[in-house]
Amino acid sequence: MSTAQAHEGVKPAKKRFRIDYHTFGPFVALVALCILGFALNPAFASEGNIANLLTRSAFIGIIAVGATFVITAGGIDLSVGSMAAVISGVMIIVMNTMIGTTGTGVATVLVGCLASVALGLLAGFVNGFMTTKGKIEAFIVTLGTMGIFRSLVTYLADGGTLSLAFDIRDAYRPVYYGNLFGVPIPVVVFGLVAIAGWIVLNRTAFGRYCMAIGSNETVARYSAIKVDRVRTLTYVIQGLCVSVATIIYVPRLGSASSSTGVLWELEAIAAVIIGGTMLKGGYGRIGGTVIGAIMLTTIGNILNLTDIISNYLNGAVQGVIIIAAVWLQRGNLGRINIFRKAGS
């Protein structure tokens, strides 16, 4: 009589050979994509290409780590792309201005980074404050700040482009183009941000609060969680992530204009959702987000592997792959035979 089991109280979760599709799915989809890429063009697997691919995914990936917090806590931030643009712009202005004072070396770059972080925190706080204290839907607040930030960068650039003085570029270049033990710096930063994000979300009280708020705000309030403060903090974290992404972005293109970071918000949110975080909140996965970001970049890369498809259809192929990848990873995988055995 196996009911006895039900009576022994709560046993620790069993770690059997059970496939959690939400953890496993995104990974499988990514592997499938890579196989497709290699089949299309073996150059896909070249070291250079892989390095490029990972480096690129760092921007969106870092922003998406922040977005994971916001979305897990039941919010949304549409302003990240514009925020990145305005932060880039201000960084460039600050650094160009500081050349006279601190020279063209690392000092100036550091001042620029400091400005970036300060601005990111501020922008995030503004979004969070208006959402929580102003009681305005996050969608509206960040739609508004998206317009505001985008305008600001246009204004700062006087309708044109802000470019980093060429003297400083040499000092700053390694942040994008350099590498640490062969790993590109942006990838290193991405990794660190992801690990930090994972720890905060899964191993601190704050992370638990985010999930609780996203899951049921009332329960969170009845559980002595300072809902407004935690929620505001998620936007601040998002701002910080945007500023970090910007810091590694600026040396790549050395400029900022009104077209910088357009639609990054959509990519970041897509990375988060592809990774298995729920848009309605309550459930976040940093690991999934990382894979989601890499997946999106990989799709773009795959389109460049071959020119059998008309350029006009790039978007369509991208759309199909995204849907297919997510379809693959959402339990539908279970219908494929080899997985059914291992699964429930």
């Binding site: 063009n41 290409n49 309708g159 050395g254 204009s257 357009v262 460049n304 350029n311």
Partner: protein
């Protein structure tokens, strides 16, 4: 694919509005033509949605396709300067089209469009047609360097002519925006003598708005680029659209031709090819009219 195959990468902005659509079309045509004529040449065409993606494309052209030459129409000059330099460092032959890079000496060939000239030529025409006390409105593109160059050149040219620019607003090189902005100008200003739309897509929207308000007789409209619909109107002697200023998307094909020449002809190819921005009038319109083009 023989060992001697020469790979040429072509990187252009995606077809997000009329002019870039034209660029795409001409690039596709040129690719087909050149590949057919030169069996040892493989052209890889990539269209990007923005500067960051174009930088990605350039990386991929090098790391995946190992191109021997690059033809690039930069989304924006500044952000693509470094990425193009990286391509150059891989040893490829570089042809830059339309928008110059922010630093000298990277490209081997520069096929330059001339946005300043487009603004100046348009301005000249307004000076000619209008004078003291006349009012015009200006519809601009998207806030970028290109738009700035055109606008500033135009404003400098008409300076001192006594023409008043009532207002300028961005219409994002988009027909719908052109239509709406013009509608609002029309409700706002009772007296408008001319409209500078600086782009044919915007101009098409402006035309409809003016027609809707029944004010065709009051003003004329000048666009830019050389879209077939507009050129046709010029050709037919339209009062509303008397002229156009050429800014041919076909320049991408020219650049591709030159680049292929570098590999097929014996002499080295280099230097600048600056395209003008000629005024299209009913007299010369026929030479610029390509009814089969999508643009």
């Amino acid at each position: 694919a023989t060992a001697q195959e020469i790979k040429i990468g072509v990187s252009i902005p995606a077809a997000t509005h009329g002019w870039t659509g034209g660029v795409n079309w001409h690039a596709e045509q040129a690719m087909a033509r050149l590949e057919a004529a030169n069996p040892n040449i493989d052209i890889i065409l990539m269209a990007a949605d923005g500067p960051a993606q174009q930088a990605n494309d350039l990386e991929d052209l090098v790391s995946i396709h190992q191109i021997d030459a690059l033809v690039v129409l930069p989304f924006e000059s500044e952000p693509l300067t470094d990425p193009v330099r990286m391509v150059k460092q891989s040893g490829a032959f570089i042809t830059v089209v339309d928008r110059g890079l922010a630093q000298e000496g990277i490209e081997d060939v520069y096929v330059a469009g001339n946005n300043t000239a487009l603004g100046a030529v348009s301005g000249e025409y307004f000076r000619e047609r209008l004078g003291e006390g006349d009012n015009i409105v200006v519809l601009r593109g998207i806030p970028t360097v290109i738009d700035d160059e055109r606008f500033n050149a135009f404003m400098e040219t008409i300076e001192g002519s006594g023409i008043t620019v009532l207002d300028n607003q961005y219409a994002n090189w988009n027909r719908d925006d052109g239509f709406e902005v013009m509608q609002d100008f029309l409700s706002r200003f009772p007296d408008i003598d001319g409209v500078w739309a600086q782009d044919d897509d915007i101009a098409l929207g402006v035309i409809e708005a003016v027609r809707q308000a029944n004010r065709e007789d009051e003003m004329f409209i000048v666009g830019g680029a050389g879209m077939k619909e507009i050129i046709q109107m010029v050709m037919e002697g339209s009062e509303l659209v008397p002229v156009d200023v050429l800014y041919p998307p076909a320049m991408i094909a020219t650049a591709m031709d030159i680049t292929v020449n570098h590999f097929t002809s014996n002499g080295p190819v280099s230097g600048e090819y600056i395209l003008g921005a000629p005024l299209i009038t009913p007299d010369n319109a026929e030479t610029y009219y390509f009814p089969d083009s999508t643009f």
